[in-house]
Amino acid sequence: MEGLLPDLEVVRKDFPILSRTLAGGQPLVYLDSANTSQKPQCVIDRMVDHLEHHNANVARAMHQLGAEASEAFEEARDTVASFIGAPSRDEVIFTKNASEALNLVANTLAWAEGDWSSRVGSLGAGDEVLITEMEHHSNIVPWQLLTQRTGATLRWFGLTDGGELDLSDLDSLITERTRVVSLTWVSNMLGTVNPVAEIARRAHEVGALVVVDASQAVPQMPVDVVASGADVLVFTGHKCVGPTGIGVLWGRREVLDQLPPFLGGGEMIETVRMEGSTYAGIPHKFEAGTPPIVEAVGLGAALEYLRDLGMDRVAAHEQAITRYALDGLATVPGLRVMGPTDPAVERGGAISFELDGVHPHDIAQVLDSRGVAVRAGHHCARPAHARFGVQSSTRMSSYLYTTPQEIDALVEALEYTRSYFRLGQ
């Protein structure tokens, strides 16, 4: 099969969990990577080495362990910066996950000042924040809170029946009133890849701030923050073979400099007096308290692993497997995929579907009994489900370690599900 990672079996050996067996001796078929990815041994080992030999607090410590820990932590920042093509390492802020990164922007915008002449300013009645109907809840709720709190208005792009952004009313959505446009690069439910650079260009014409949720993009495809057109771009460590507890916010210096502080505390300050404080420059301004140190170290190792595999090849693998999966799923009677299925259209690796007559929970349960791990529910994208008139769906999501045989196992398990629930042909 063309496009698969060479040495796929060797790559799989890097991931200890993939050789696990489940109840009843079933081998694990992990198709829930859009939820969280598995971790290669090198990431785990790097974290263990850090904890066993170099653990200390960073920045504050003047001793050898402190210097080692600080160096490891700041090296991780360099790795992230180069992985996403950030013009400056200082523009890379470590957060706890993508959700915190998105909230950081939305929460501080409630207190921002200025006239938006350089894409940051104060929000009020008449100002608009524009999102899309396919966002993850983490890119919806923060903007609902912001607009409720400032009196601004929340608007959104709708979706076409094919699961793409409905750009037909672009001109009425992106207007002089638009202050912020926040959208996902790749949908975690539909797999849709949005034209972020094009939308960013339009948004910048009206002076709006562009926030890109790259949580599903960074794991799957080469990402260059400058080419993306984003002013702010976020992603989360655990979806790109890194640990939990770490996310990344990249922002253009000019934007980050203008945003007021988010969390106050240790390390984000310049001078603290009881009467008032001054704040450090970026990145520290947004990293209050002890940062996720071992997590940053783990993320650094994760991105090095992806870099060494080559993001072009990871992307090609994802596309090949996704295509193979779409073909396989098309053979299951009564199965309907939501999102792009046209082979000519680029799409991400998350495939959500309905199966006539069986509820997603029940599908996932039967699949699980055969070792096939998928997700059932609304995948934190309830509005997109509502758009397609469903309460929930079943989602399979592959990653760089997924094999065609695992897709076969999924398709067989779906056939078995149909027979278990006695559905006819």
Binding site: A23, G24, H359, P360, H361, D362, S369, G377, H378, Q391
Partner: protein
Amino acid sequence: MTTSTGGHDLDALYQEIILDHYKNPHHAGLRDPYEAEVHHVNPTCGDEVTLRVHLTDGPDGPVVQDVSYDAVGCSISQASTSVMADLVIGKPVEEALAIHQDFLTLMQGKGQVVPDEDVLEDGIAFAGVAKFPARVKCALLSWMAWKDATANVMEESA
């Protein structure tokens, strides 16, 4: 560490009784009259139930005259709603609450509790669900909704 169970237990989960209730839910639909209506959601999966209760006065306190509902959900949650309606309709509220408690105990028992068929009737088919932690919430959704609605009526009239 695991308490979830594998394929061989699938039949323990999907008992015939459950599948029957799923295919032909009893007392489904929203009906008048009612004193309280509630809407409950399982935030993880989006399953929802809108549920009404109609209580009347009986010789020994209020009686569950009717429970009607509109529910979207998986086989377990749908069947559980149907069984629940069967079990509580016509019972004094006090007795119905005791049945609710018994069902809760069964569901939270991690598969260690032996259910009393005289009390739970078709509800005993859910004994297997207790071994699937992720599904316990499904089985409890409408029971919680019923309790909530009933409490609302009792408070109003108190």
